[in-house]
């Protein structure tokens, strides 16, 4: 909301500059986002006399005017404003002139005729905006002197300020008007609002003779006030009003519309004007819409109504949606003779429901759906009447037509001063609590008050009457906040939390995550955080088949973008994107990891019953799985090129595998197995599935060549591991194994076997043959060359034999080692070297 500072000063004494005021308002909760200066002066606009008028040679709707601009200036201007006569005094914006809103005027050529400036309407001079309907060039009073600036004639002062308010929901209920903010200022200064006398001259037939009002739904419309204006004279509103509307961000239109907007901004009460002659039988009926009724709104759109909606109707049809929008057929036009001005209080819920249902929000509905002051309608109607009367825009018919069957009962709240202090941790005397509330318009009286005049200061319980404009205050805690903000949050005490000591604990799952991240980072990978939202195209990029169960992801009902329609069910797309992003910037020798949540649909959400979930204490795990995953990604060289290391090795499958083995070891996952697999996202022959204690927990390998190509990657290794089962386990503390006290014996064996034979099978055979004395088996060389038989490779192992209880001798180990060698030959067909 934009609040002109000068307007505020008209309602209340403001002892502060605009920027100081902004600070003070912010500190009581009326947040001021910015303070801007507005300037309504028009440098370069002078008074000029019309000398002659000629038709434009090409455009029949334009004329060419020659003017006397004083100082021997006789410019010629093209204008579409007709109806000027020689001798008229008009405002002329010379080339280089500046209109409010920073609009510049330049010399231009229209249809071959040079125009040395522009003749201005009042609206253009007042706020720089295009003239209103039917508005012509402003005719200046005869006393004006050609060649003199127009600013003094229009009382343009240097700079006013506009405060840009950012109101929270509760303050929007009572501060979204100049009056609302003025009340806050009054509470701050302790000075009353300025008394304002809206002198009103009423003439002609009584308002009741023009219009009859009935309210059939007094819950939806507890109060309806109408005022009638007759003998309307169309035209622009006065300069000062236009300037204020423009400063508040509204476009001036004409006297009647501007006045309703002005009162809305000033008092927060939305008004609507009907053309009396278009209301059938001159009747206004507030009722629920009948099924099938429609209304064409001022915006030209036709809407189907239903009985849940409240309408204003005449004798035959709806003419407005209560509190939201007027009808196109019954609105005021320049031809309107008699206008009926509606100033009503509607129930917030019915306006909100209707507005939501029709997807239609207007300035009026935005206010009604929060709260409008039920005591404001007659004041707003009278204020509008006074304004219209003063600008001679029409005559005010005597009296208000009002339907107000039940007097609005102000809310009364029970308040305990002890409770207010208890919540604030303060010790404010009751007199201060009461005084602060009174400044804000509340009235506090002791709950048990005898006839004594004096209220003893130790009185604890009060009955507090809430002012009618404070729809946001409904409970004792709300009063507590009023007291607190009036005192100033900064003026209240502060202390470190007190009470019983507690031990802060991080759940095992989160500790496991931290531990894992620390290890992986120490291994040289950088942590990434990627988007939890993805689009179905990401599954295509992962080369998942159309029926791949991996495509089953949770779908958003109202997504914002194509690539954010699903909750991610895999971390791979994010990892690949980060690899590609960095590779695209020639940052290639890198490793990344992410510890993140993926989402799995576990139950049928269409049959999702809120009640059953709530009954289960809000446990959603049978419908939605939120599972912890680890993604790893490596690309480029293991080490960046360096003078001592040379250009280094390229990371490959075994770097990735080694990292996973490290994690499994450090975090005591249990037995890890890596088995060939056929995941569509990986290189068909360079991938494995990870089994932890026999269960499949993830995949690792080179990305599929097609994915690499599509992403502009050279070679990349990725893994995705389901950590949930491991992370949920209790922390495992290892028991110390006694250090070996007896020396080990080392033996090597090297041999050539079929290359198709997995090393895992070789090692299993060795272990079986060697038995329990084989402590460690280390593969220290693998190679293939042309000298070997095709499809063979050479493996070299070092074997560590050790007994825990004695020193092994050659005599004991030699036969075992011989058995190993023999087994390799017999069972695996190895050729020993």
């Amino acid at each position: 909301m934009l609040l002109p500072y000068g307007w505020l000063c008209e309602l209340v004494e403001v002892p502060w500059s605009a920027s100081e005021l902004a600070d003070r308002l912010s500190m009581v909760g009326v947040k001021v986002e910015a303070v801007r200066e507005v300037d309504f002066r028009c440098p370069g606009v002078i008074v000029a006399r019309v000398v002659s008028l000629l038709p434009h040679p090409e455009n029949p709707r334009a004329g060419v005017v020659t003017l006397d601009g004083g100082r021997r200036l006789s410019p010629q201007v093209v204008t579409t404003a007709l109806g000027l006569s020689p001798g008229d005094l008009v405002p002329l914006a010379l080339p280089g002139a500046r209109l409010p809103g920073d609009r510049r005027v330049e010399a231009e050529t229209f249809g071959g005729v040079r125009s040395e400036g522009m003749l201005c309407s009042l609206t253009e001079l007042a706020c720089g905006q295009p003239p209103g309907e039917e508005e012509g060039v402003l005719i200046l009073p005869a006393a004006a002197v050609p060649g003199s600036p127009v600013d003094p004639l229009l009382e343009a002062q240097p700079g006013d300020f506009v405060l840009e308010l950012e109101l929270t929901v509760n303050y929007a209920m009572h501060c979204q008007s100049v009056l609302g903010v003025a009340r806050e200022v009054a509470a701050l200064t302790g000075m009353p609002l300025h008394a304002r006398d809206h002198a009103l001259t009423e003439t002609g037939a009584d308002a009741r003779d023009h219009v009859r009002v009935e309210v059939h739904d007094t819950d939806g419309c507890p109060r309806y006030v109408a005022r009638v204006f007759h003998d309307l004279v169309p035209g622009p509103s006065p300069c000062w009003m236009q300037r204020r509307l423009a400063a508040a961000g509204l476009r001036p239109r004409n006297r009647l519309v501007d006045t309703t907007n002005y009162v809305l901004l000033e008092l927060g009460q939305p008004l609507h004007a009907f053309d009396r002659d278009r209301l059938a039988e001159g009747r206004i009926i507030v009722r629920r819409a009948a099924r099938g009724e429609t209304l064409v709104g001022l915006d030209g759109e036709e809407r189907l109504l239903d009985p849940g909606m409240l309408v204003i109707a005449d004798a035959c049809k709806p003419v407005a949606l209560a509190g939201i929008i007027g009808g196109a057929d019954t609105g005021v036009t320049p031809g309107t003779r008699v206008a009926v001005l509606e100033s009503a209080h509607f129930h917030p819920a019915i306006v909100r429901r209707t507005s939501l249902k029709l997807g239609l929000r207007t300035d009026a509905s935005a206010r009604f759906e929060k709260w409008s002051d039920p005591e404001a309608p007659p004041l707003a109607a009278d204020r509008a009447a006074a304004l219209l009367g003063a600008m001679a825009a029409g005559k005010v018919a005597p009296g208000r037509v009002e339907v107000y069957p039940r007097l609005h009962a102000r809310t009364i709240l029970r308040m305990r001063v002890s409770r207010v202090n208890g919540l604030l941790g303060a010790n404010l005397p009751a007199s201060e609590v009461r005084g602060r509330l009174q400044r804000l318009g509340f009235e506090a009286t002791p709950a048990k008050h005898g006839r004594r005049r004096e209220i003893p200061d130790d009185t604890d319980v009060y009955l507090v009457t809430v002012p009618s404009w404070r729809g946001d205050v409904t409970a004792e805690v709300d009063l507590t906040e009023e007291v607190a903000r009036s005192r100033g949050y900064d003026e209240l005490p502060s202390c470190l939390p007190r009470g019983t000591l507690t031990v802060g604990q991080r759940p095992a799952r989160l500790s496991a995550i931290e531990q894992m991240a620390t290890i992986i980072a120490a291994a040289g990978l950088d942590e990434i955080v990627t988007s939890p939202l993805m689009g179905p195209v990401a599954f295509d990029r992962l080369r998942l088949a159309p029926n791949d169960p991996g495509r089953d992801a949770l779908v958003l009902a109202n997504p914002l973008a194509e690539d954010q329609t699903l909750l991610r069910s895999t971390l791979l797309p994010g990892m690949i994107e980060v690899l590609a992003h960095n590779a695209g910037r020639r940052q290639v020798d890198l490793g990344f990891f992410e510890l993140g949540t993926v989402f799995r649909r576990r139950g049928d959400l269409s049959g999702f019953g809120l009640k059953s979930a709530v009954r289960q204490g809000g446990d959603l795990s049978s419908w939605v799985g939120e599972e912890l995953r680890l993604a790893l990604g490596l690309m480029g060289r293991r080490h960046p090129a360096h003078w001592r290391r040379g250009t280094g090795d390229r990371a490959d499958f075994f770097d990735l595998k080694g990292l996973i083995e490290l994690l499994g070891d450090r975090l005591s996952w249990g037995e890890l197995r890596f088995e060939p697999s056929s995941h569509p996202s990986f290189h068909p022959t360079r991938q494995a599935c990870l089994r932890v204690n026999g269960d499949t927990r993830g995949f690792l390998g080179e990305l599929h060549p097609k994915i690499l190509e599509a992403q502009g990657l050279d070679r990349a290794l990725v893994a995705e591991i389901d950590l949930d089962p491991m992370a949920r386990r209790q922390r495992y503390r290892r028991r110390l194994q006694p250090l070996p006290r007896h020396p080990a014996l080392l033996r090597d064996v090297s041999f050539v076997v079929g290359a198709h034979l997995p090393v895992a099978a070789v090692e299993m055979a060795i272990h079986e043959a060697a038995g329990p004395l084989l402590e460690k088996l280390a593969l220290f060389d693998v190679y293939q060359d042309e000298a070997m038989a095709a499809g063979s490779r050479s493996l070299a192992y070092s074997l560590t034999y050790r007994a825990l209880d004695r020193t092994l001798t050659d005599q004991e180990v030699d036969p075992i080692h011989l058995r190993v060698r023999q087994t390799l030959v017999d069972r695996l067909g190895a050729v020993l070297r």
């Binding site: 303060a426 005490p493 502060s494 507690t502 120490a522 942590e527 955080v529 988007s531």
Partner: protein, 345 residues
């Protein structure tokens, strides 16, 4: 004879002093002191000297021999040291060559900041609780005093999965979940970090998802003063000792009184881009837990009170590191990660 010995001694000492390497010394050793060396020969020749002169000549010869031996040893040491010096000179390295990098990865800055926030509250006796990201409307709104139709629902544009299931718009639903799990036990001191979602288009200050840390304390006699004290200590721990905290009234449906918390800008009010010249930076929202929320959690608001605050992790990270574009967090450009992450934490 005596002069022979003297001459021999002079000659040997001079030769040793001139020896250029260990091999020359070895030769002199043989030449003078070997079994057939010249000194040995002289000593052996003493047998033919009259007995009366023998002791004196013997002493002279032995002394000469000792001198030559000492000179040889000394020279040997000198030459060895010289050899060592040469070898070391040849081993010289250029210490200004770049060191070999030990590559250690880093945690993402969001997790570094989140963890720092967590640690502060852990030390204060708060435990960590987790809540689901896919949440019930009931917990995200209803139980937090935001019924259907409440204006606050509009300002929090929400991603829905079904009518009842949504992506949580804040970490606050964990407040109710934690209280429901703990009631009637006291005190409740819990923080809940996690990802939250808003239906926002991506720009420099908005992402459709970001991270928050929720803080909740419920106990008998908890007051607004406790909240203020907690905030002040947190701000000083996080932003530095001199940091000042300012609380402005604000509105959240689930707290009353509610406030927004500003911290003093590092520019000390002189004006900078971080604070827009105001000298204060908006940090977080906080307040006293609304009685209806306490009731939803299973506590009697007449008996207990609580405070809650919700802190944006991205916002905090942007403030302390001077990041002006929230999209950088999700881009994971190594140049960003390397600058701001922290190792081994």
């Amino acid at each position: 004879m005596r002069t022979d010995i003297d001459r021999l001694r002079e000659e040997a000492l001079a030769a040793v002093a001139c020896a250029g390497d260990i091999e020359a010394l070895d030769q002199f050793q043989v030449l003078y002191l070997g079994r057939k060396g010249r000194v040995t020969t002289i000593l052996r020749g003493l047998a033919g000297v009259p007995a009366a002169e023998r002791p004196a000549l013997g002493a002279i010869a032995n002394q000469a021999r000792a001198e030559i031996e000492a000179a040889l040893a000394r020279r040997r040491q000198e030459l060895a040291a010289e050899v060592e010096r040469r070898r070391q000179a040849a081993e010289a390295i250029d210490v200004t060559l770049p060191g070999v990098p030990w590559r250690v990865g880093r945690r993402h800055v969001l997790n570094v900041v989140r963890k720092e926030i967590e640690e502060f509250f852990l030390h204060l006796g708060f435990s960590i609780a987790e809540g689901p990201e896919v949440e019930l409307d009931h917990y995200n709104f209803e139980l937090l005093n935001i019924p259907r139709g409440h204006p606050a629902r509009e300002s929090q544009d929400t991603f829905y999965l079904t009518d009842e299931l949504l992506l949580r718009t804040h970490t606050s639903p964990t407040q109710v979940r934690v209280m429901q799990a703990m009631a009637p036990k006291l005190p409740v001191r819990v923080i809940s970090p996690g990802r939250v979602y808003r239906r926002d288009s991506v720009d420099a200050s908005h992402l459709p998802f970001f991270h928050q840390v929720e803080v909740l304390a419920v106990d008998r006699g908890v007051t607004f003063a406790d909240l203020k004290g907690t905030l002040e200590h947190f701000a000083r721990s996080f932003f530095g000792q001199g940091t000042r905290v300012r609380l402005r009234p604000s509105y959240f449906p689930f707290t009353e009184p509610s406030g927004e918390v500003d911290v003093s800008c590092m520019c000390e009010g002189r004006g900078c881009s971080a604070c827009g010249g105001k000298g204060w930076i908006e940090l977080l929202g906080a307040g006293m837990v609304h009685p209806r929320v306490l009731e939803a959690g299973g506590y009697d608001p007449e008996e207990v009170a609580g405070y809650a605050l919700g802190l944006g992790v991205e916002r905090a990270a942007m403030l302390v590191h001077g990041i002006d574009d929230i999209r950088l967090f999700g881009q994971n450009d190594i140049r960003f990660l390397e600058q701001l992450g922290e190792e081994g934490c």
